[in-house]
Amino acid sequence: MEVLAQIFNTELLVATIRLSTPITLAAVGATICERSGVVNIAMEGMMIVGAFTGLIGAMFTGDPWLGLLFAVLAGGVFSLLHAFATVSLHLEHVVSGAVLNILAFGIVRYMMVMIFGHPGTTDPIRFSLKNYQWAIPGLSKIPVLGPIFFNQTPIIYFSFLLIIFFTFFLKKTKLGLHIKAAGEHPLALETIGVSVYKMRYTGVFISGMMAGLAGAYLSIENAVSFTEGMSSGRGFIAMAAMISGGWTPIGAFIASLFFGFADALQVRLQVALELSIPEELFIILPYVLTVVAVAGLVRKSRAPKADGVDFMIERPE
């Protein structure tokens, strides 16, 4: 019983939110991207670029908020390469994504060696976004829910707001509806005079910015330095969350919470049951659960009809 109490407590739920945030952000971004009809397996690479740029920005300006801005912009700019390759150059989406992952890894490693003189881990920053942890007065006093939702760091609050925003965006705004149409029936959208290319570029750009934000969370909020491989497959877990969540922001959030919970539980189990079982068996838990979740839920969710389908049109200009 003592062990159980040590594992299952409010701390576990707080850790769940913390560990699921990068997955949530990337998953919501990927949802928008796939809703516009572009498959984006380069989320991982965009996250790395965002995390690294965010750290560099925070380090050289001394202000983590500017680092955050840099991360979001870097993720967005890098994602435009994916948009250019898939939309304008009609490249197969998966291939372009794989190539961009490799390119992101190369760029970051080169920059790291140029700036810090070695690959691996960068120097730490002195002031991270964690210093801006803010307990919302009143709400944070609610038992259990208070510490989980209302006593967190900035990007976690952003992620809550962005989930609400993007749900509204997809359902109610004109741009959101056009993006959805580009992923469902691009030709129909083109017929009513809206450029499918532009919508898809927008979708990819949003996903890039969200991935950059997720990266910033990893490097300048959850940690104070950037380590190569710190994203450890989260870009792909985010895709799994997107699929399990049925290509909606809310669904993606719930699925991400599940994966974050698996990760938080894994760490706690390691500590609680130390030595009796090899730690690696716990580390693999989130990955195994991801496979299970995707396999179990993929049938129930429906992908956008033109997801990953190339669209080519000649316009008389």
């Binding site: 291939v95 190539v99 799994a240 496979v291 396999a295």
Partner: protein
């Protein structure tokens, strides 16, 4: 009749010179290049005697045309990489001199050693791609293969030929079995293989320390923590030095196995029923189904065979090069296998060349860092740019069309 027997003699001669050339060249005897060139000339004569027609000029022209985009992409990447180096304060001329001297002359044996596992993983990714599947988790299958190979290598005491053969086959099958889960999920539920194989790659990578600790790599008792014991000596792959005294002592015959497997995969893909069905499913599943080709069966075949090939990469590293297993046995061979497959447009024979290019870039990059202190991660950027420019073939038409349009617009304006 006369013609027929002549062409037979020519093809046998060509294969013999080709093999001799490959053996010599990969053992860093540069005279091998002459043999390979001779084999190409023989191939030309064979083609002419078998089919007639086609002058040497036309043949060469066709050959050069297929190289047009790759060569252009590589040159453009070299230029772009040079610009990046200038911006970041390195001298590109010095860097490239060291890179190419290191990769293709000085450290040629390292290039070959790097290329061998890449050929296997590249073939794996390419084969799955032919069926329209993306085996992004080749890294995981690599680890399964190498673990199985180490386990067997520590125990099998049979004559070398048998035990090495058994190790290759059994470890390959183990890696193939590891891909049953993604394949079955893909067939039964439609779960995307990008996610499932990727997740299983992380699982395999994290499981390897358990295996290593269980086979001699005990951090408490061993002086080399996290490294297994050496496998038995009868399970070592032969090295070139045994019969070619000038070859490097680490250079093993894995490259010949890899090339043979590549040819075999090419044969399977383009000359057998299985290969035909796999490619049919990859190109147009609906048409394939209409022809009575089972999609599920071919997805299974493609993913399992891809797992088998990736596993061989791990086996090759264990029995050929390192003779033991440790945590970072794979220097990203699984991930780089994706690059070489994409670069070769999933052609098994092309994979051999792109793997050697990739291996040479890595080896040259290390030589460059040793001699000039320019970080070898510039190689990663150059690789990325090469990939992007070659994959995005349409980029040339895209900008070509834009320029043409602008010219026409200008002309219209002038006329008005």
């Amino acid at each position: 009749m006369q013609n027929n027997s002549l062409s037979k003699i020519l093809i046998i001669l060509m294969i013999l010179t080709g093999i001799a050339g490959i053996v010599l060249w990969s053992a860093s005897y540069f005279i091998g290049i002459i043999f390979i060139a001779a084999a190409l000339v023989l191939y030309y004569f064979y083609k002419r005697s078998a089919e007639g027609g086609e002058s040497a000029g036309a043949w060469a022209k066709g050959f050069i045309k297929t190289l047009y985009i790759p060569v252009f992409g590589i040159i453009a990447a070299i230029i772009l990489g040079g610009i990046i180096m200038i911006i970041t304060g390195n001298d590109p001329v010095v860097a490239y001199k060291a890179l190419f001297y290191g990769g293709f002359v000085r450290s040629w044996h390292i290039s070959i050693l790097n290329a061998v596992p890449l050929i296997f993983t590249g073939l794996s990714v390419a084969f799955a791609f032919q069926a329209g599947l993306f085996n992004i988790g080749a890294e995981g299958q690599f680890y399964i293969g190498s673990m199985m190979a180490t386990w067997l290598g520590l125990r099998l005491g049979m004559p070398p030929v048998f035990s090495i053969f058994i190790i290759f086959i059994v470890s390959g099958l183990a890696a193939a079995a590891y891909n049953i889960v993604p394949a079955a999920l893909k067939v039964k539920t439609g779960a995307h293989e990008v996610i499932t194989t990727m997740m299983l790659a992380h699982v395999a990578r994290h499981l390897s320390p358990i295996f290593i600790r269980g086979n001699g790599g005990d951090p408490a008792s061993s002086t080399h923590a996290y490294v297994t014991d050496d496998i038995l000596e009868n399970n070592f792959l032969p090295i070139f030095k045994d019969f070619l005294p000038n070859a490097n002592y680490r250079l093993h015959v894995g490259i010949l196995i890899a090339i043979a497997v590549a040819v075999l995969v090419y044969y399977i893909l383009y000359y057998t029923r299985i290969g035909f069905e796999v490619r049919a499913v990859g190109q147009n599943p609906n048409a394939a189904r209409a022809q009575g080709i089972s999609i599920g069966k071919n997805i299974m075949i493609a993913l399992l065979f891809a797992g088998f090939l990736s596993g061989l990469a791990g086996v090759n590293q264990v029995v050929g090069l390192d003779h033991k297993m440790f945590q970072n046995l794979s220097a990203g061979y699984g991930w780089n296998g994706i690059s070489v497959a994409i670069l070769a447009s999933n052609n098994p024979i092309g994979v051999i060349f792109t793997s050697i290019l990739w291996g040479a870039l890595d080896a040259g990059g290390q030589y460059m860092t040793r001699t000039t202190q320019i970080p070898n991660s510039i190689v990663e950027i150059i690789k990325g740019i090469i990939l992007f420019l070659i994959v995005a073939r349409y980029i040339y038409t895209y900008f070509g069309n834009r320029m043409k349009k602008r010219r026409i617009d200008r002309k219209i304006k002038e006329a008005v």
